[in-house]
Amino acid sequence: MKALLRIWPWVRPYRRFGLLAILGSFSSVLINLSIPLQTSRVIDEGILNDDPRLVRNVVITMVVLIIGGMVLSAFASAMAVQLAFNTVTDLRRDLYDHTQAFSFGNLDRLSSGEILTRLTSDITKVTMVLTMGLSFMAQTPVMFIGALLAIVAIDASLVVIVILMVPVIGIVVWYTLARSGALYDAVQTRLDRLNTVLQENIEGTEVVKSFVRQDHETTRFEVVADDLADQATIVNQLVAALMPTLILISSLGIAAVVWLGGNNVIGGSLSEGDLVAFISYMAMVAMPMMMFAFLQPIVSAAGASMARIEQVLLEEPEVPDAVHGIDVSIQPTPGSIEFRNVSFRYRPVDGAVIENALTDVNIKIEQGTTVAILGATGSGKSTLVNLIPRFYDVTRGVVLVGGVDVRELSKHSLRQNVGIALQQPRLFCGTVMENLRYARPTATDAAIFAAARTAQAHEFISAMPDGYESRIEQGGANLSGGQRQRISIARTLVVDPAILILDDSTSAVDLETEAHIQAALAAFTDRTVVLVAQRISTALGADEIIVLDEGCVCAHGTHDELLATSIIYQEIFRSQLGEPVG
């Protein structure tokens, strides 16, 4: 509930719609409140006095009032819709904007699926509560208080019944609300679990089929689906009891009115018409409770959703942009890189002790040179290059690009300056051309063809049925691993960055093609190239080779130097070419 109130900043710009909605509801409720009074007049003054003219006049008044009430109430609802949709559209935009400030560290914690659920189903729940809740919230207190006043005016002695009813209703509603809140949360958690099993099953179809684990997976899914059903049954059964219970309480109240009011009529202190009106008002007193019972699941769910949305909004971007960021492109050597005493540690998940991924790294890379980084699996190669475009910030020490601490550079200028082809290439749905143009929408066709040629992608793209206009399926499913990698490299080259990082981005490319790519890249003598490599052949052409071992630089130098001095390098070399060094 409290979380729901935090939506106020987004409601604020549209508060006048809210005000109109409240005013509209308010007036329509006042009109509705007057109807039983009119009924009472028809009975007591019209029927009992045999006055057809009065009956006619009052009935006409009632019809006019009711239609007026309908119009006002419709207006109020329309205003509530304006408020709700404008508010959540803004909220969704701000939520997405916020996620665009995230860096890799944030994404390690928040999966894309989690963010997506918040943008879609959680937002929908908030919309529901704003659309339906507002008019109810405006109407119910007015209706309740108005009906109460009318009751007091008719027969103060009967108010006792209402006074007895209210705390009982309060307790029932409070109990349901308190219990269902936690239960809804439990349902949501089960749903998350079901989604995870499902998503992994679909994404891992190949593995599941290869190992013939369909039955195992089905059992796993059955367990989570049953669990979800059981949990949802508990909360739905609880909520299902609320409405009948509230109806029971108000019906018992009416029975009490018939008894006590009946005695008052017999005693002569109450007219029959007033008793009828009284019963109508009793229904009105109960109405807000019914509405609440109806709204309760929506409100509970929206409260939980708003809390989930807030969780993303409160996630602090790990790599904040410098306040007056320096433009790296105006530095004398924008292509130079330096690591000074750099140590890095990933943020631990659930408080586990995590070792440094990098320790005391010192590297200097001059503009225009090609540097290869070699090392065993898990030695920190990707981590190292991820620090250059500031995907993560160092734990200790400093990374300089163009001679400036990357934390003082404008992030935008830094990332325009540093192009990286990631280890796992990610292409988007759309044509090949759209993918290549992605990082620089203004690029000319000629520039794109040139980049594709350098990445050795031009030939196979041209051989595709529609050439550059061929569509790339979801996740690049219609391309081989090596083709995806080459398009990814070309996409990075289109930006023409001063520093190019290839993070093992030719692992699925055959050696000959890889050699062509390297030869083509060598033509750009101004560009600094950082290659993360598994194959020694990839590293051979580099000006300098850096060998990483368990997060430390254990050797660096040219191929010949390393071959002479570094035992680790010698081992790598031998294992690669499969023959003794000689």
Binding site: I35, I43, I47, V55, V59, M62, G69, M70, A74, V81, A84, F85, N86, R93, F104, D108, S111, S112, T120, N195, I202, E206, F211, V212, E217, A225, D230, A232, T233, A240, A241, P244, I247, L248, A255, V258, W259, G262, N263, V265, S280, G378, K381, L422, Q423, Y438, A477, G482, Q483, R491, D504, S507, A508, D510, L511, Q534, R535, I572, S575, G578
Partner: protein
């Protein structure tokens, strides 16, 4: 054949128009009822409870009228007491029945949903790779979650709501007619007007909702596509464009949402007004009858009862009007659910398909032709024999069809022409599970589950003990780094995955395959992100494991395949060269060139 079948399933689930859709909806509706059949007894009980509870609730106002006319008017306190006691008993009875009814319905609805989800899931397990290639993950997930939820709306809310509403309306009308037919007619006066308004609104709002849902779908697609590739968006410095792109899609939902929703919310005030208008009509007509002449038998108590009844008439009508729109949404959801359930698997076992007996490992490809899409042949006339125990190396440029040979061998796809046999058994004539169970495949794209490292390895053989898991990890050279993880073998592999490098993930995948102890082993670029030292160690271990069993190895590093008994060079979907390492070097073709380029590199 397949082309026709594919047509049945529409990814994205665009909702068809007109008769076809209504027919599909009717069909979905019938099938949903089929799911309810298992709960027939409980549903009959709850139906009876519902009817009785509604009737009991309706007796209330009538008893109130009786109380006023017969006892209050006659100053009969004892009679009043009796009738109030009866009223109380009646309300309590109605309450108990409603609660029991609600509990039954909630439980049945959840059971049916779980059943639907489980059926959908097991259907997904039987579908082939072709299906997953052309269907978006997000769309499938939304069918299993959102669309089934919509069906829940239909089951636990709308369907019974409408049934209850209709029962209420009918019994209200019966009671009212019994009491006084003139006042009953009076209370119905506003109904034609309201029905006219409701049908107009309904007709208008359906297409508006369609437009809105589509724009919302577009928004979700934009967000899903970019967010799942967020690291690439960051790396390419495109967050600003991503913002703009999303803002545009987001903006287009604003006006559409307001238009669709505004019409719908008008229903409520109209229905509320209907109840009031009915009451007024009753009061007006009742009063007119009462004051004209001898009263026509219309008493104050009767009018009081009718006012309550008329107000109650608006309530179920309102519920029907409100739920009709969401019923269409629910049926659209049900259509999508059954559409997926009806998807026919491309690859099914023949009825007389036999179990593939434990194989020696003689694999034979005879004139194999294959294409993913009709106009783009990937494999042409592929012909080779792998003798038991041989290691076959597959070499060639990217996109030549190497991975496709593997996909065809384990029957992820069926070939278009030729035949693939293992020990003389055509793979299409044996049960596909018995085939795959004997093939250990480590794929190019490493996939691990969000689970502990231990369970990920155990996926290879579910009954393996902890020591066997560790032994497999040792074999794959993974034991060392796994032990160094924060929680060792119990470390959870996460989606973000900063705790494991790509190479480490590959090692875990190899351990998983090693644990399965298959008769044939396939390594498709299984060690591309593993450093060469580690790779060599793994290879030696795997070779030991594979001794006497056939293996296929795809690799770009020629050092990985140079010891192979037979190396096949694949270019443009054909085998262009074949032989041992030495033979191919002598041949001086593509392979020799490739090898020399590596050699040249070393000399440089």
């Amino acid at each position: 054949m397949t082309a026709v079948r594919r047509g049945a399933f529409q990814p994205g689930g665009s909702i068809g128009e007109g008769l076809q859709k209504d027919a599909a909806s009717a069909n979905s509706f019938r099938r949903l009822l089929g799911y309810l059949r298992a709960y027939r007894a409980r549903l009959v009980v709850s139906g009876v409870l519902l009817v009785v509870a509604s009737l009991l609730a309706l007796l209330g106002p009538w008893l109130q009228g009786v109380a006023i006319d017969n006892y209050i008017a006659n100053r009969d306190v004892n009679g009043l007491g009796r009738i109030v006691a009866l009223l109380t008993a009646l309300y309590v009875g109605a309450w108990m029945m409603s609660v029991v009814y609600g509990r039954i319905v909630a439980a049945v609805a959840q059971r049916v949903m779980a059943q639907l989800r489980q059926d959908l899931f097991s259907r997904l397990q039987s579908l082939s790779m072709r299906f997953f290639d052309r269907t978006r993950t997000g769309d499938l997930m939304s069918r299993v979650t959102n669309d089934v939820d919509a069906v829940d709306q239909l089951l636990s809310q709308n369907l019974l709501n409408i049934a209850a509403a209709i029962i209420q309306i009918l019994s209200l009308l019966v009671i009212m007619t019994v009491l006084d037919w003139r006042l009953t007619l009076a209370s119905l006066i506003p109904i034609p007007l309201v029905m006219f308004l409701v049908s107009r609104i309904g007709k208008r709002s359906r297409p508006l909702f369609g437009t809105y849902q589509r724009s919302l779908g577009g928004l979700n697609a934009v967000a899903q596509e970019r967010l799942s590739g967020q690291r690439a968006v960051i790396a390419l410095d495109q967050q600003d464009n991503a913002r703009i792109e999303f803002a545009e899609a987001n903006e287009s939902t604003r006006a559409k949402g307001i238009r669709a929703q505004t019409l719908t919310v008008l229903m409520m005030p109209i229905m509320f007004g209907l109840g009031n208008l009915s009451s007024v009509a009753v009061v007006g007509v009742g009063a007119w009858l009462a004051v004209s002449g001898d009263g026509n038998g219309v008493s104050v108590g009767l009018i009081a009862a009718f006012v309550t009844y008329a107000a109650r008439l608006g309530q179920p009508l309102g519920r029907i009007a409100n739920t009709v729109t969401s019923i269409f949404a629910a049926l659209a959801g049900a259509n999508r659910v059954f559409e997926l359930l009806d998807e026919v698997p491309d690859i099914v076992d023949d009825e007389e398909a036999a179990l593939l007996p434990p194989v020696e490992g003689r694999v034979e490809f005879r004139g194999v032709g294959f294409s993913y899409t009709r106009d783009q042949p990937i494999l042409r006339d592929v012909d080779f024999v792998a003798e038991p125990g041989q290691m076959i190396g597959l070499v060639g440029p990217t996109g030549a069809g190497k991975s496709t040979i593997i996909n065809v061998l384990n029957r992820f796809y069926d070939i278009d022409s030729g035949s693939v046999t293992i020990d003389g058994h055509d793979i299409r004539s044996v049960q596909v599970d018995s085939l795959r169970g004997q093939l250990g495949v480590v794929l190019q794209h490493t996939f691990l589950f969000t689970d502990t490292v231990r369970e990920n390895i155990r996926f290879g053989r579910l009954d393996a003990g902890d020591e066997e898991v560790v032994a497999a990890a040792r074999l794959a050279n993974a034991d060392h780094f796994i032990k160094a993880l924060p929680n060792g073998y119990d470390t959870v592999v996460s989606e973000g995955g900063n705790n494991l490098s790509l190479g480490q993930r590959q090692l875990i995948a190899i351990a998983r395959a090693a644990l399965a102890n298959p008769r044939l082993l396939v390594l498709d670029e299984a060690t591309s992100s593993v450093d060469t030292r580690t790779e060599r160690a793994i290879q030696e271990a795997l070779l030991a494991l594979m001794r006497g069993r056939t293996s296929f190895v795809i690799a770009h590093r020629l050092s990985t395949v140079r010891d192979a008994d037979l190396i096949l060079v694949i270019q443009g979907g054909r085998i262009t060269e074949r032989g041992t390492h030495d033979e191919l070097l002598e041949l001086g073709g593509f392979y020799a060139q490739l090898y020399n380029s590596q050699f040249r590199g070393r000399a440089a």
